[in-house]
Amino acid sequence: MSRIKEKFNQLRTKKESALISYIMAGYPSEKSTLAAVRGLIQGGTDIIELGFPFSDPIADGPTIQKASTESLNSGTKIDNFFSIVKKIRKESEIPLVLMTYTNILYNQTYQKFISRAKQAGIDGLILPDMAIEESKEYVKAAKKIGMDTIFLVSPNTEKDRLKQIIKSTSGFLYMVAVFGTTGVQTKIHKYTIDALKNTKNAAKGKIPVGVGFGISTEKDVQKYVSSGADAVIVGSANIKIIENTPANKVQTRIATFTKKLKSKTR
């Protein structure tokens, strides 16, 4: 069983939702990434989503764009990324998900990249520009290697398409909360709550549904969990903390923030 599936099974028996925490690898340095990871684990997050920067992140808002650019400028390469993952694996068995863009995988071939990722200790992949129509080869390679393919759905995804996406999804389904890019929002829209209900219905309990984009406060987490989300994904808010915190305090600040969010998933 994949680490992700196992985690959701455990949480289900405890009647908890998952907190999924995103950070950008190599931002602002490898050292601070490891500190942040330790903080996330300490704070009790359930799954860590590691971003690998891409030069042209069209689904990301200003915060993650900036982190991508700075990570690339500081010299983050695929090789560094996998070495970070291996270091995390020495310390923890927490499920690790990689979020990046299609070209990063395609460049090395899906097969080769996914094998390397699996070997390093990655459990699932999120590619925001991988549309279901284009995903056949990618999903095939991932299945063979035993890597979860986490697809995104949007509040405007139609019913039939939703079904099709669910078929190709493993690990969990990532529902984008807003029309827009990643980043902090101030309001929870009614259309998101409606979409969450529809998506949960379509998933029929076979695959957990996570909500992400624009989630940054305890209140947000509570609202989505009480509306039925199996997981909430917090990203830009973590990046902002890392951005504004001296390196030696990243771990404790991330841990404190994560602990607060996690308490709302129970």
Binding site: D56, A59, P62, I78, D129, A131, E134, L152, S154
Partner: protein, 398 residues
């Protein structure tokens, strides 16, 4: 060779729609509407009339006898897209898409622009059809093409200077896509080149194919060679597509910058690798990890790390030959054409001229070359002046 409508949005391996899920319904709606309107008589009539009365079609084909004489070789003909309203071929596409947007009931139009020509053409089409235009332009480009920024503003468009990434065309496309993701219901994204997710490459090719269709009609016989410059590749695919099934040798010219052996160029077909960017699979300039490389060209309009998927296909099929010329060769061609014919070409188009000069020497005098002169060069005179001041060794001084 028949291409027509690409199956599943793909030209062989190339194209497709690699897009965030939020855009999927919008792309589907666009595809449905476009395929319907593509054969709609009233749409064709309305667009055809606008192209005549508003844009100034058909454009002439001009025998450049002085240039031909100076170079010595095959007869060089120029397809004068520079004479269109706005000074470039871009208006062929913006009128088509703006009309489509209007029929789809979209009131807000967004677009990206490199040199500013597509932005200006979008602003003009929107002004004339009563639509609101917002244009994304790389910060670097807003400086090197500042005159076009003001032109767009005069025409009523709002210009957003994009300061992320390399601050050029590719980043303007990223930002336009982010806007579209955020305002997907109300907004029509009017892409300016034959790039992006399906159906854009098809749609832009169809609207630009008027260039090649006219060439076919205007030339007494099929030319021996046809040449156009390729950035994203819209004037080139419009020129080439109607001539694909003829015997003409077809050549696309990329921006070789400081040379394709250096990193300072924008020639993905000549020196790139297959990959995925801006919703399409195509040839891209990228590094070992798949990060998109920063590009260089003296012409902002060709300064792009990717290329339209149909070009990638035509390259692999060996139907079209793709070559690159350097900035130096471009300036030289710019000056030769200006002096011999009194025509100031856009630096983009001067790439095609440079290659025509190269090959016409080796061809027979009875043979003919058609070069698509995609735009006029008024926007570029400051760049040329600066280049000539810095490169005093350039043979052709004023």
């Amino acid at each position: 060779m028949k291409i027509g409508i690409p199956k599943d949005g793909r030209f062989g391996d190339f194209g497709g729609k690699y897009i965030p899920e939020t855009l999927a319904p919008a792309i589907e709606e666009l595809e449905k509407n476009y395929l319907k309107i593509r054969n709609d008589k009233s749409f064709k009539r309305e667009l055809g009339q606008l192209l005549i009365d508003y844009a100034g079609r058909p454009t002439p084909i001009y025998f450049a006898k002085n240039l031909t004489k100076t170079v010595g070789g095959a007869k060089i003909y120029l397809k004068r897209e520079d004479l269109l309203h706005g000074g470039a071929h871009k208006i062929n596409n913006t009128l088509g898409q703006a009309l489509l947007a209007k029929r789809m009931g979209k009131k807000r139009i967004i677009a990206e622009t490199g040199a500013g020509q597509h932005g200006v053409a979008t602003a003009m089409a929107c002004a004339s059809l009563g639509l609101k235009a917002e244009i994304y332009m790389g910060h670097v480009d807003t400086i090197r093409q500042k005159q076009n920024v003001f032109r767009m503003e005069l025409l009523g468009a709002k210009v957003h200077a994009v300061k992320s990434g390399s601050k050029t065309l590719k980043d303007a496309i990223n930002e336009a896509m982010r806007d579209w993701i955020t305002n997907v219901d109300s907004t029509y994204y009017l892409l300016g080149s034959a790039v992006g997710p399906h159906p854009y490459p098809l749609m832009v090719r169809d609207f630009q194919a008027v260039i090649g269709k006219e060439i076919k009609k205007q030339m007494k016989k099929i030319p021996n060679a046809v040449i156009a410059c390729v950035g994203g590749g819209s004037n080139a695919i419009g020129t080439f597509y109607p001539l694909i099934d003829t015997k003409a040798k077809i050549i696309g010219i990329e921006a070789g910058g400081k040379g394709v052996k250096t990193k300072l160029h924008s020639a993905p077909l000549t020196a790139g690798k297959k990959g995925v960017l801006h919703g399409m699979m195509t040839y891209l300039m990228q590094d070992k990890d798949g990060q998109i490389s920063e590009t260089h060209s003296i012409s902002a309009g060709l300064d792009y790390p990717g290329v339209g998927p149909e070009h990638a296909y035509l390259k692999d099929q060996k139907r079209v030959e793709y070559k690159a010329v350097t900035d130096d060769e471009v300036i030289d061609a710019f000056l030769i054409l200006t002096r011999t014919e009194g025509i100031i070409p856009a630096l983009e188009s001067a790439h095609a001229i440079a290659h025509a000069i190269k090959i016409s020497k080796k061809m027979k005098k009875t043979e003919s070359i058609v070069v698509t002169l995609s735009g006029r060069g008024d926007k570029d005179i400051d760049i040329v002046k600066e280049y000539m001041t810095k490169n005093v060794k350039n043979k052709r001084k004023i």
